[in-house]
Amino acid sequence: MEEIINVSGRAVPHIYPHLEIWGGPIALYLFFGGLAAGLLFFSSFFYLKGKADTMPMTVKVAPIIAPIIIILGLMLLLYDLHHILYFWQLFLHFRIESPMSWGAWTLSVIMIPAILWPLSYLDDIIEYLKENKSNCKMIGLLEWANNLIKKLPVLPTIMDLFIKNRALVAYVTIGLSIVLGVYTGILLSAFNARPLWNTAILGPLFLTSGVSTAAALLMWMSNDHKERSLYSRIDLMLIAIELFFIVHMFMGFLSSGIAQVEAAQLLLGGPYTVVFWVLVVGMGLVLPAILEIMELRGYHIPIAIPAFLILMGGLLFRFIMVYAGQASGFHIL
């Protein structure tokens, strides 16, 4: 009988199960990061295209979600730190080699336009909500915030300066949002020891996926037919790019060393195969693409269905990559 048995003294309850140190909070944080990057990208991009008045949802209203989910993401990240009371050490150092370091800095810098952008449009947001969703309970809160900001000492001056230089801010925000979107992938791909993550294509792939989830959310939230069909087409293009990247990711793995080949096997016959190909690729990319094509061809399909599927696909994709990546490794026994 062929025997290969390896027993490691590290297999004690405190150590081996806990070396899979990243879990749900990190996956959720990567999802929020990508979504926020996409929302900020679209708002700045269409502002620069001069669409502020024809696409109010994209440019003025939806960006209010970005700072909320960035803060939520940061809270998840802090919750995941084991030495949480020392988190401020992140902001005493900048280490160019560590993606986590420049990710932390990018998130902090992008918070400034992410908060100021929706604040500078508060009047328009309130007007938009009154016109379209007059029973929304947020209106009162937003009006209160709006009045408060006008009474505060320095903030109105900053807002005036911000509004005067909005085009410049938009250019900077586009740059930062792309860095943020790529960062969510590069954070994982920097780890040589986890072959499934260790591919440079993860950065562009996570960026595309993040922007695609943002397009889906905007498509869902908008009530303007033109805006919706624009995002439908954008999403179709992004889904095509994502599929292209996914195929190339596997081509790269399968033509690489044994550790990469075995990592790819986790998704090609291994324990993550079904969730990846059925739920992420099938339900999260291909099915919404088909539904969107049908919708553009004139079939009546509630837009919420493809939008929800894309958002769920993006979220699951991050969960699977985080968990499967940690199951991949080198032969050390």
Binding site: I5, S8, H82
Partner: protein, 178 residues
């Protein structure tokens, strides 16, 4: 100076003395360890079954992915190539744990990441590491690779050796003698 360790897989009996010595010397919390024994059995029963033991710990690699990915610089390399963690700079993010091909790090119950230090506090006093001193079969050999007369330099010249996961490109400094 370049500290390194050689581990004779033919002499090791898997007694775990090195593990207990380290836990005692470094106040490693109960249920955790900085070094550990691996027992590997392979072959076809009953003809060619082989078993050997390895005493493993941080490899104190020359190319250190754990230091590279640390966002605060808590993971750093000191004199002699020893990889250490500054406890009050560590935020416990886990980036170094994810970047270690050998799974040599763990999260201390106090929150920071902990690992083998090659007993640098003992080296300062001219002593050997605790695991080396306690080993009953003398299968662990420690020393300076830059010194051609050190025990570890001599034995690595004389004997055939291998390192774990060389394809990870980390250039580990824990050598296993065949």
């Amino acid at each position: 100076m370049r500290y390194a360790m050689a581990m004779d897989t033919r002499k090791c009996v898997g007694c775990s003395d090195c593990v207990v010595a380290c836990q005692t010397e470094n106040n490693v919390p109960l249920g955790f360890c900085r070094d550990w024994i691996v027992e590997a059995v392979k072959g076809t029963y009953p003809d060619t079954v082989q078993m050997h033991f390895k005493s493993e710990r941080c490899m104190h690699c020359e190319n250190t992915p754990c230091v590279r990915t640390c966002p605060t610089g808590a993971s750093h390399v000191i004199e002699g190539g020893i990889v250490k963690v500054t406890h009050d700079e560590c935020i416990g993010c886990g980036a170094c744990i994810e970047s270690c091909p050998y799974d040599a790090r763990y999260v201390h119950p106090e929150g920071y990441v902990d690992k083998c230090t090659f007993c640098d506090h003992r080296l300062e006093q001219g002593l050997n590491t605790a695991c080396v001193d306690v080993c009953p079969t003398s299968c662990l050999i420690f020393g300076d690779l830059d010194d051609p007369k050190s025990d570890v330099s001599i034995i690595l010249k004389e004997k055939d050796w291998y390192v774990l996961a060389p394809e990870a490109g980390t250039n580990p400094q824990l050598y296993f003698l065949k």
